[in-house]
């Protein structure tokens, strides 16, 4: 287990192999529930917990499940984890549970969860699997939050509305009215706004990647040059 590179796992989940912007997985919840920050945060946290839980369980049983039945077994585990989360949300954040509705049970079908179980947890130990699940979930959550923030800001001119649904009554006044007397821009709240927003986020990530690559290249070429050319004519110094 000494060859596990936690830094690489973390960077993969958060940036290089981000489930939302690189693998483009879990689009259904990503596009459907990011109308506001609180919805995005609620579903993102639920997905994160399911990912960590299912990765740990899959990793635990990885030596005992044969290849032939592994996918049904993984789906059963994920479904069990999702049911637990659903019941917890029903108990503690009932209003948010009602708003998110069908998208909580639909976490089962989120390709990110099954993808990580099959691609990572079934081949790695418990701790790396937990870290992988956490980092992938965090990467997904961050994109959900950015998209939710964008859509809420453009659509309603506010940020952090209804945070009491998740954090209790003390969060009721967290709402920021960024733009006063804003008429509202309905398209951002509707599904097209989600597609446009996700497209812009992916484009932004690609631009940053390109810049980073260019900087690295420039750095590499800045290193002192030793002439490797073999001179065949003239005076050899």
């Amino acid at each position: 287990m000494s060859d596990v590179n936690y830094k690489k796992i973390s960077m993969d989940g958060l940036w290089n192999n981000n489930p939302a912007t690189v693998q483009i997985l879990g689009l259904c919840p990503l596009l459907a529930v990011t109308g506001s920050v609180v919805n995005a945060l609620g579903l993102g946290l639920a997905t994160l917990v399911v990912l960590v839980g299912s990765n740990v369980c899959v990793s635990l049983i990885r030596h005992y499940v044969t290849d032939a039945v592994r996918l049904p077994a993984f789906v059963m585990i994920i479904a069990a984890m999702t049911t637990v989360i659903e019941m917890l949300m029903q108990a503690y954040t009932f209003e948010l549970y009602e708003i998110l509705g069908i998208f909580i049970p639909l976490i089962v079908t989120n390709c990110t969860v099954l993808g990580r179980a099959d691609a990572f947890a079934s081949k790695n130990g418990i701790l790396p699997s937990a870290v992988d699940g956490f980092m992938m979930g965090l990467g997904f959550l961050v994109i959900l939050l950015i998209l939710g923030g964008m859509r809420e800001l453009v659509g309603q001119g506010t940020l952090f509305t209804n945070m009491q649904l998740l954090f209790g009554p003390m969060a009721a006044h967290w709402q920021l009215n960024v733009i006063d007397n804003y008429g509202g821009f309905l398209l951002a709240i509707l599904p097209p706004g989600a597609f446009l927003g996700l497209g812009l986020i992916i484009a932004g990530k690609n631009v940053i990647d390109k810049r980073l690559k260019a900087i690295q290249k420039a750095k590499a070429s800045d290193e002192p040059k030793v002439s490797r050319r073999v001179r065949t004519t003239g005076k050899v110094s």
Binding site: G183, F185, L186, L187, L190, P192, L196
Partner: protein
């Protein structure tokens, strides 16, 4: 006698994209004039402001994409998009409405897809639908025909300083939609009973028809799309009207209301987003017409040119695939990209 010897080609064509686009702009002028006569200076203000916004957003994005700004601005395609969207917007539109719609049309619907020739959807209609979905109230307020506000009032509306409520009224399509099926109510609304069709709008549509015929005579567009469009709109309207004239409007009313003529001659004929073969264009335009009639008669919106054009833009590649003409020497048309 000296013979001039010059090598072929002897026929020189002076037309280019810019010249074609300029002709389209000239052809909208009668429509613009009648809109101004009926509804005041709002449309002129819309068009001018839309052109400014379109040129600025096009220039900004061409710069960002590293393209030649002067070369692409001279093809006038951004101006055409702006003029068409400006004509379609209500004359009561405040400045920000036009700004949002035109910049979205140019930046998202055109430049993000790769500029002129690459856009799968008609940019002007994408902008229009964006506004219609996002700002339904501001987009459905029209001025009552013949009740045109003064230039000063129009400028105040443009600045957003004058509430629209006092000036606005329902369009003929709106009125018919509301009272369809009620014979007495339909008879009591004078807006439905102009010389030919709905008041005010009949002249607007005839003016656009005139401009469209000019475009056909100059061979800027072919007759296929306008003819198919109007036939597709009129045929189901005629059948339904013969069956139940109280519930359904007559074909002439459909053809001379809302954006029918503007759509038939100027919007559906966009060479980039329309189908390309002759038969394909007929099918494409017929379906647009039918869809407009269906949405006008049964849908939630009073007019449907923008939605129908966008839906058929989406189907244009598919229509082209099935209507590819036979090449000389082949028995069957070659379909798809294979041999």
């Amino acid at each position: 006698m000296s013979l001039i010897t010059s090598s072929s080609p002897h026929a020189s064509v002076k037309n280019n994209t810019g010249a074609f686009m300029r002709q389209v702009i000239y052809a909208t002028l009668p429509g613009l004039a009648v809109l101004t006569w009926q509804f005041g200076w709002g449309t002129v203000i819309n068009v001018l402001w839309a052109v400014v916004v379109a040129l600025v957003s096009e220039a900004l994005f061409l710069k960002a994409r590293g393209r030649s700004i002067g070369f692409y601005l001279k093809d006038y395609s951004a101006v055409v998009t702006a003029v068409l969207l400006g004509l379609a917007l209500p004359p009561t539109a405040p400045w920000w409405l036009t700004l949002v719609g035109v910049s979205f049309a140019i930046i998202v619907a055109k430049q993000l897809y790769g500029g002129l020739g690459m856009n799968p959807f008609n940019p002007a209609m994408v902008g229009y639908v964006l506004l219609l979905i996002s700002f339904p109230v501001a987009m459905t307020q029209w001025i009552s025909p013949g009740d045109a506000p003064s230039l000063q009032q129009s400028l105040q509306l443009f600045a957003g300083q004058l509430p629209v409520d006092g000036l606005s009224g329902a369009t003929p399509l709106d009125t018919f939609r509301t009272w369809a099926g009620d014979e007495a109510a339909l008879a009591s609304h004078p807006i439905l009973h102009g010389e030919l069709a709905g008041q005010g709008w009949e002249w607007v549509n005839l003016a656009f028809l005139l401009g469209g015929l000019y475009l056909i005579s100059r061979k800027i567009i072919t007759w296929h799309i306008p003819a198919g469009f109007l036939a597709g709109l009129a045929a189901p309207a005629l059948v339904a009207w013969l069956i139940d004239p109280v519930r359904f409007a007559d074909p002439l009313f459909h053809m001379l209301s809302g954006g029918a003529m503007l759509g038939a001659f100027f919007i559906a004929t966009d060479p980039v987003s329309a189908a390309t073969s002759r038969n394909g264009r007929l099918v494409y335009a017929l379906l647009i017409g039918v869809l407009i009639w269906v949405i006008r008669s049964f849908g939630g919106y009073p007019d449907a040119v923008a939605f129908s054009v966008l839906l058929l833009n989406l189907s244009a590649p598919f229509i082209d695939y099935y209507t590819q003409p036979r090449t000389y020497g082949h028995n069957k048309p070659n379909r798809g990209t294979g041999s």
